[in-house]
């Protein structure tokens, strides 16, 4: 039965183009059926042979240089999304100006929140918000090794509404940390991780949402690390992502 099913889909199977559930069924079948596994093997070998043979031509250095000169230094393109972020950044500047009377008197704690909000907005307004672009936490986490003086865990996002977009290094109060960007229903959420002892400001243990910021923010400390989750998504979304991180530690 599986043999017949597999025969019809053998190409899709070796191309990794069958649904995950079906893939597992076929994988299991392959282990016990020498006939189908030989079939698959020969197809994989054919793919591999074409892969090797197909990489045949390389452009000359002179041609590469010519092309580079032709397309280099063209004006960078403004993207719709970039404008959205730029508008958001501009809005923050205006809000910042309007609330500047507060700022003179606000506590170190509020300053940290404000700085986190600035980092969030400034990063999203950037043309290259992330330095490691990947939806795979197993790619993003090792990227931070050697760049920040601590290790942390990223949550498993399967069966959640969140997706990881990537990460970058960041600084808060002159201390290095990790900045991760997640997506949920078109909203971008930043997660910042720093070493608690490196931060000067004493922050609350409980989640808080500073009223003067147009974002929802949650912060907590766990395992000597200070986490901030911030974004314009709903408070429930921010809280859910925070919970995933708390569970991942």
């Amino acid at each position: 039965m599986v043999c017949e099913e597999l025969e019809a889909k053998l190409d899709s199977y070796v191309d990794g183009e069958v649904p995950e559930q079906e893939m597992r069924t076929f994988d299991a079948h392959m282990r016990s059926c020498p006939s189908c596994s030989a079939d698959a093997l020969s197809r994989v070998q054919m793919k591999s042979a074409i892969h090797g043979a197909g990489k045949r031509y390389t452009p000359s250095a002179e041609f590469r240089k010519r092309m580079q000169q032709k397309i280099a230094a063209k004006p960078r393109r403004s993207f719709g999304l970039g404008w959205t972020f730029a508008a958001a950044a501009a809005a923050i500047i205006v809000i910042g100006a309007l609330t500047s009377a507060y700022l003179g008197t606000r506590s170190g704690k509020d300053q940290v929140f404000s700085e986190i909000a600035d980092l969030h907005v400034a990063t999203l307004a950037s043309s290259s918000p992330v330095d490691v672009i990947s939806t795979d936490r197993h790619t993003v986490k090792p990227w931070f090794q050697g760049k920040i003086p601590f290790a942390f865990n990223l949550p498993e996002l399967q069966n959640s509404e969140f997706s990881l977009l990537g990460g970058r290094m960041t600084y808060l109060e002159q201390t290095p940390g990790a900045h991760l960007i997640y997506d949920v229903r078109k909203h971008h959420i930043s997660v910042f991780v720093f070493q608690e002892r490196s931060l000067q400001a004493r922050l609350d243990e409980n989640p808080i949402s500073p009223k003067q910021l147009p974002f929802t923010l949650e912060t907590w400390t766990q395992g000597g690390l200070r986490y901030f989750v911030i974004g314009d998504a709903s408070a429930a979304d921010i809280d859910n992502l925070a919970k995933l991180f708390k569970a991942a530690v």
Binding site: R77, F79, S127
Partner: protein, 189 residues
């Protein structure tokens, strides 16, 4: 993911080597390949402002390159000489041809043999094999690059593989008996 979008140069230059390889396979000539790549980049740069966010940039570049080739003198000549009823793709039966010892030999055969077999394949088959096996594009990406439905990608790819395999077979008969790990030969082990 659109966050990585930066400049045309930043997106397009990393594809330069692979686009050139593909262009050379299509034109089978270095000078024409260079002209084709150059024209592709010029067109892409011009049309970059209309490139839709969230769509696949690589597939978009390949689509431009391929369309440019198909409307070139050489491309038109090829498409005019290929019979239009070459494939009844939607109705194509995805029958599986069982593995034989000679296909197992493929991995060990010389690159030249596979290369010349690819060279002799009809353009439709050659390009889809390159996109799938060399560029490792997904069916969806191939369908965007070639502007055909995914069902057509599957049937055309399957047919291209069978054709290539059948053309390679005569060259491989000689060593067929020496490897016995393929289907039907391992039951006695």
């Amino acid at each position: 993911m659109d966050l990585q979008l930066d400049s045309f140069e930043g997106l397009a230059m990393p594809l330069f080597d692979q686009l050139y390889n593909f262009a050379h396979w299509l034109t089978q000539n270095r000078e024409e390949a260079e002209d084709l790549v150059q024209e592709t980049y010029a067109k892409a740069l011009k049309g970059f402002s209309s490139f839709e966010l969230g769509t696949n940039f690589r597939a978009w570049m390949y689509r431009i390159l391929r369309n440019t080739f198909l409307t070139s003198r050489k491309g038109l000549k090829i498409t005019m000489t290929v019979p239009l009823d070459l494939e009844d793709e939607e109705g194509f039966d995805l029958a599986v041809e069982h593995a034989t010892p000679e296909t197992v030999l493929l991995a060990r055969s010389s690159h030249e043999l596979v290369q010349s077999a690819l060279d002799e394949l009809p353009l439709h088959y050659r390009e889809i094999l390159l996109l799938s096996e060399v560029e490792e594009m997904s069916y969806r990406e191939i369908s965007e690059a070639l502007v055909v439905p995914i069902g057509t990608v599957m049937s055309r790819l399957s047919r291209a593989r069978q054709t290539l395999r059948s053309r390679l077979r005569p060259h491989l008969q000689q060593g067929a008996g020496t490897l016995a790990i393929a289907k039907g030969t391992n039951h006695g082990l």
